[in-house]
């Protein structure tokens, strides 16, 4: 599984030596490459020398104890925070100088640890907002109700229902998003992110608040999303069953640094990972 990449780097930052992507993605430009990524908050290194490569169609996991800096990494990749050091390549393209909205247009969709839906809008409108940049009519055409408005809105309506069907949520299209059960809100957030047609989907604790059978279903859906949309998925999750079950590569963080990378089997048996989660055995 571990292998060197076989494409020309586009940015002159020395790539880290430990690049891991699934074999089927070899020879393809990785969906995401973080090189020596770091950020400091007032002297505190929240994330330091973070190197991660996610293959073009890989499902990768980012795990670690609370406060390890996992969500900070997501916020760096989506430019909610500006990295102090390092480079982020999205499908080989440097995203330096882009803001959050531009990063999304470049191909990163994300969900949030504490769900961020448009609570007062309907489920369908939430998805249509994900489609916002692919709906092609101007504001005045909307106000004047020109033909382009009707055509594009009809297309958006159909596309929204199609996307909702990924999670079998077509019937909820007219419901208010804020009134949905927690687990359904999480799914809606994933659909909204998918609607922006990302190359890379960042999921921040997608299974939080779900029961075991819902989690099982979610794992199946994440796989299906990867296969149908041919995109990469990077997820933060505390549910080890989900992480070990669907991730092809896993990176473990502690105190802002990656302490281990590898396949689920390698991670499960890594002494440093066990120590980070369970603490050190005093007798050793």
């Amino acid at each position: 599984m571990a292998a060197r990449k076989t494409y020309e780097p586009t940015v002159m930052v020395s790539p880290p030596s430990d690049i891991l992507i699934p074999e089927r993605d070899l020879g393809e430009i990785p969906a995401l490459e973080c090189r020596h990524l770091g950020i400091t908050f007032g002297g505190l290194h929240a994330v330091e020398n973070f190197n991660l490569t996610v293959g073009k169609t890989e499902i990768a996991g980012l795990i670690g104890p609370n406060g390890a800096g996992k969500t900070t990494v997501f916020n760096l990749i989506t430019k909610v925070y500006q990295p102090t050091t390092g480079t982020i390549l999205l499908a080989g393209r440097d995203i330096a100088g882009m803001d959050t909205a531009a990063v999304n247009r470049a191909g990163i969709g994300r969900t949030f640890q504490n769900i961020r839906l448009f609570n007062n809008l309907t489920v369908e409108d939430n998805v249509k907002l994900g489609l916002h940049n692919s709906i092609r009519y101007r504001s005045f055409a909307g106000v004047l109700r020109l033909p382009s408005y009707w055509q594009e809105e009809k297309k958006a309506h159909e596309r929204a229902l199609e996307l909702l069907s990924v999670f079998k949520m077509e019937r909820m299209a007219d419901l208010r998003a804020g009134g949905l059960p927690y687990g359904v809100q999480r799914r809606l957030e994933i659909i909204r992110a998918l609607a922006t047609e990302p190359r890379l989907l960042l999921l921040d604790e997608p299974a939080a608040g779900m029961n075991p059978s819902e989690t099982e279903e979610l794992m199946e859906t994440i796989r299906r999303i990867r296969d149908e949309f041919r995109i990469a998925v990077l997820l933060i999750e505390h549910d080890m069953k989900l992480v070990m079950g669907i991730c092809e590569g896993i990176a473990v963080m502690n105190f802002g640094k990656i302490i281990a990378k590898g396949t689920p089997d390698q991670i499960r048996n890594d002494p440093e990972v066990i120590e980070a989660y369970l603490g050190k055995n005093r007798e050793e």
Binding site: T100, R116, H132, V143
Partner: protein
């Protein structure tokens, strides 16, 4: 399943247009049969103007979700700019409707410009800070207008700031500093005002129910999420703010022309708050509510005149009672029950589905 949100939105919008047209028809009948007092007659155009102000402020406060306390500033720009344009058109021998249209157009253009310029610094802020800065901008506009002199005669326009230009006849001035705007001709055209109101409502409703409106509401609900799905926050914030300002300008021109003179002091903090009261009373984001609230609260003080000295106390008490009723659970429960009954009647064939327990939803 096929029940489309489009149709429900359309129905709701047309109800509002219908209410306005009904109001228009009733007033016209009352006027024709001589049952409308002179006082009420004079209130008709201001009611339409206040309704436009309230609906447009609702775009900023209810739809965009930013508290603006400076709406009166844009109204005054429209009022004074429109008055000047109407005076010039009147001199050129234009008819009443042309004067009004020209005034509204001038009001819209000037307010749009002002909205954009004020929006640049203001929209960098959020919440309370934004509210206070809009309040300050309103105050600046008021001060500028209080010191502005604009007159016209055969030799052209004469403008002065702080002092009245010398050597120009006093009656040549349209804008006379602290003495305010003096209209060349009062234009009190109720049908035209209703047309303008409906036009504004159509623009607001169509804007809300389009991709731009969705984006604006997305900003209100969650800015971080809106950014994360690639929505350009600044431009949509500006769009809502400028459209709101433009319509305030139109309302200002309409209002100003219906009065013989308008003092710049009228458009102060109190006026901004009055419009905000219409919006809050009618419901944030509820355009129809703002229009109805604006009409009722403009008529109410007139109808309470028989109470003489107690008039404003009663007015305030009515406001408090209505606000309490809007927020009481008893009142809400009643409203929802009525709505539920109506809905059940309409969709008798298909009972509301609970998506989580609906087996068809799981199979899909």
């Amino acid at each position: 399943m096929k029940k489309n949100t489009f149709t429900t939105i359309w129905k709701s919008n047309f109800t509002t247009y219908g209410i306005v047209l009904l109001f228009f028809a009733v007033m016209m009948i009352l006027m024709a049969t001589g049952n409308l007092s002179r006082l009420m007659r004079g209130q008709l155009v201001p009611i339409c103007a206040y309704a436009i102000m309230a609906a447009s402020l609702n775009l900023t406060v209810g739809v965009l979700g930013e508290l603006s306390l400076g709406h009166a500033g844009f109204v005054s720009i429209g009022c004074f700019g429109g008055g000047l344009a109407a005076a010039l058109l009147h001199d050129a021998g234009a008819g009443e409707l042309v004067c009004l249209a020209g005034a509204v157009l001038a009001g819209v253009l000037l307010s749009t410009l002002a909205g954009f310029l004020i929006g640049l610094p203001v929209l960098r802020l959020n919440g309370d800070y934004l509210a206070i800065v809009t309040l300050a901008c309103c105050q600046i506009i008021k001060s500028l207008l209080t010191n502005l002199f604009v007159g016209r005669d055969e030799s052209g326009l004469h403008t002065g700031f702080l002092t009245q230009p010398e050597g120009v006849a006093a009656d040549a001035f349209v804008i006379r500093g602290s003495q305010g705007l003096r209209n060349a001709a009062v234009i009190d055209n109720f049908p035209a005002a209703v047309v303008l109101l409906i036009l504004c409502l159509i623009i607001i409703y169509n804007l809300i129910d389009s991709k731009s409106g969705r984006a604006i509401m997305a900003l209100r609900d969650n800015k971080i999420a809106a950014r994360s799905i690639g929505i350009n926050i600044t431009s949509y914030k500006m769009m809502a703010f400028v459209v709101s300002a433009a319509m305030a300008g139109a309302a200002g021109a309409l209002f100003g022309l219906s009065q013989a003179t308008v003092l710049p002091g009228k458009f102060d903090f109190n006026m901004s708050v009055l419009i905000l009261v219409f919006v809050v009373l009618g419901g944030l984001g509820n355009i129809r509510g703002s229009v109805i609230a604006a009409a009722l609260l403009t008529i109410l003080p007139e109808k309470l005149r028989f109470l003489a000295d107690y008039r404003m106390i009663i007015y305030a008490v009515v406001l408090i009672v209505v606000m309490l009723m809007r927020n009481s659970t008893v009142f809400h429960g009643l409203g929802e029950k009525i709505q539920g009954l109506l809905r059940r009647k309409k969709t008798a064939g298909s009972p509301p589905r609970d998506p989580d327990t609906d087996p068809a939803g799981k199979e899909g």
